[in-house]
């Protein structure tokens, strides 16, 4: 069986103010991907998180244009202030720009993940078939569960969970069907195998967190896992392909 295709659902372009990750450019990202065997990536931009989401979204779409291995991942804000547009407008524009997933940073951006302010945006994402990507430190697991229950057709992928969270994650995965775990910094020893055996590889989405995190972590962990080839392939690409359109990327 050939090596599984790896599509990274957690990569970022742009400078990082708290770590030396280089210039954050497309060339450097592609070099990192090549080094560890990642075929394609959904990429956000650090400006969307740390400067201005609307500006960062436009920038990342420009940067990935003409790059067949990269697809843009935009960041949303609650619609009340109009910064990233109204819900339908945002979702329609994302689709027009071939955005494959949307990120939210509720802790950094000052709103409640499961509150009423951002709810119309999440409903619009679900309607448009766009999954939501979250970093675990951005919201508590009860909030993630509340969001998933409120929007049962919205896939919610939670990455960067660390190594101290399986007691919380297990309950949320049991009680919901639309919460997924990203593999960037999913670092409990044999946690990947435990989650895949208990909940199925269809609840796990490959991500690296690069360049802030070393992509070699997620790649080595998955490829040297004790999981069967089919499960490795599902985590590497298959699960994400069920959540969003990967046409043209893989």
């Amino acid at each position: 069986m050939p090596p599984p295709l790896l599509v990274d659902a957690d990569a970022t372009l742009g400078r990082n103010p708290r770590a030396d990750v280089g210039d954050g450019g497309v060339t450097a990202l592609l070099e990192r991907m090549d080094r560890v065997g990642v075929a394609a990536a959904l990429v956000g931009h650090s400006w969307s998180r740390l400067h201005d989401p609307a500006t960062g979204n436009a920038l990342v779409s420009r940067l990935v244009a003409g790059r067949p291995r990269l697809a843009a991942c935009w960041t949303l804000l609650p619609p009340g202030t109009g910064e990233t547009g109204g819900p339908e407008e945002f979702a329609r524009s994302a689709r027009e720009h071939r955005v494959r997933a949307v990120r939210a940073y509720p802790a950094d951006h000052g709103y409640e993940l499961a509150g009423p302010d951002a709810a119309p945006m999440f409903a619009a994402l679900a309607e448009a078939g766009l999954p939501l990507l979250l970093d675990a430190p951005q919201a508590g697991w009860p909030e993630v569960e509340a969001l998933a229950r409120r929007h049962p057709s919205l896939p919610v992928v939670v990455g960067r969970a660390g190594y101290r969270v399986l007691r919380r994650v297990a309950g949320v995965l049991e009680r919901t069907g639309n919460v997924y775990v990203g593999t960037a910094d999913l670092s409990s020893h044999r946690g990947l195998e435990w989650l895949a055996e208990r909940f199925g590889p269809g609840r796990l989405v490959f991500g690296t967190g690069m360049p802030e995190r070393d992509p070699a972590e997620s790649v080595t962990r998955l490829l040297w896992s004790e999981l069967p080839d089919e499960a490795v392939a599902a985590i590497g690409t298959g699960t994400l392909a069920t959540l969003t359109d990967l046409d043209g990327l893989t």
Binding site: D20, R35, L166, S188, E193, A216, E217, V219
Partner: protein
């Protein structure tokens, strides 16, 4: 590709084994690991047999470990657990004797003196809330100096218990003791401090596990202090063994440096010391 750029992965690189999902030959040495459950969070598999099975999967020949019971709660009972695990897998595991400064260090050192199951000593000053430079640790340094056994200490940059500068202080006091700076300061800003300590003290070795470590930092450390002062550690079963290993396997290192970090340097450290304890 220019003539100056080596092919990647270079022939023989373990990166090829990762990318092909092959099991590599058993040659790596893990200088920082643990064993057993931990109260703060769930660990799916934390037993010695589970660990050896995963070591087999990814080419780790030998692991040096201390039990979670020893570092978190009860050094004496935990050292018993470490010794039992090593006895079950004597060719694959070696123990660190945990010395808790509040739990009669002299008695614990005496109890295990000469026991071949222990290859070194493990200190966790920030967990035990006692500074690395404090007098309660004096018996440890004297013991390690006499027996030429390595001491692995946790380090956390910026904490009053085990900042890298404190490693430098004890390394200067006991130049005959090899001190492994666990996590190399732990935080990114702390890596610079740990590198500086290792540059000043040839008896300090940078150990690489931790949630903020990155292959780019590993390359930098080797470039700054040489692969003879850098060793791979995983922190398994806190952290997945393969995550920590992957950072070294894919780091921008010569294959000679990679082999040293992944085992050669730690083998040399152990060879200069009779079994510790």
């Amino acid at each position: 590709m220019s003539a100056q750029t080596p092919a990647w992965p270079s022939p023989g690189s373990p990166a090829l084994d990762v990318l092909d999902r092959r099991t590599p030959p058993p040659e790596f040495v893990d200088a920082h690991a643990h064993l057993g459950p931990y109260s703060l969070f769930f660990i799916p598999d934390h037993g010695a047999a589970d660990l050896v099975r995963v070591m087999d999967r990814c080419g780790v020949a030998r692991t040096l470990l201390s039990s979670h019971l020893a570092i978190q709660c009860d050094a004496a009972a935990g050292n018993d657990a470490t010794a039992a695990a090593v006895a079950a897998f004597p060719d694959r595991l070696a123990g660190y004797l945990v010395v808790n400064p509040w739990q009669d260090p002299v008695a614990e050192l005496s109890r295990w003196a000469g026991d071949p199951r222990f290859a070194g000593i493990k200190l966790h000053p920030s967990l035990h809330e006692y500074r690395l430079t404090g007098p309660r640790y004096r018996p440890v340094w004297e013991y390690a100096a006499e027996r030429r056994c390595p001491v692995l200490t946790h380090t956390t940059s910026g904490l009053p218990y085990d900042d890298p500068a404190m490693v430098g202080e004890v390394a200067g006091r006991y130049p005959e003791v090899t001190i492994l700076a666990g996590h190399s300061g732990l935080f990114r800003a702390g890596f610079d401090d740990a590198i500086e300590v290792a540059r000043r003290h040839p008896n300090v070795v940078l150990e690489l596990c931790g949630s903020f470590m990155h292959g780019d930092e590993i390359s930098r450390m080797v470039g700054e202090v040489g692969s003879g002062q850098v060793v791979f550690g995983s922190d398994v079963p806190f952290i997945d063994l393969r995550m920590s290993l992957g950072r070294v396997i894919f780091a921008r290192l010569s294959e000679a440096d990679r082999r040293a970090v992944l085992g050669g340097t730690m083998r040399r450290v152990l060879a200069t010391a009779p079994r510790a304890a």
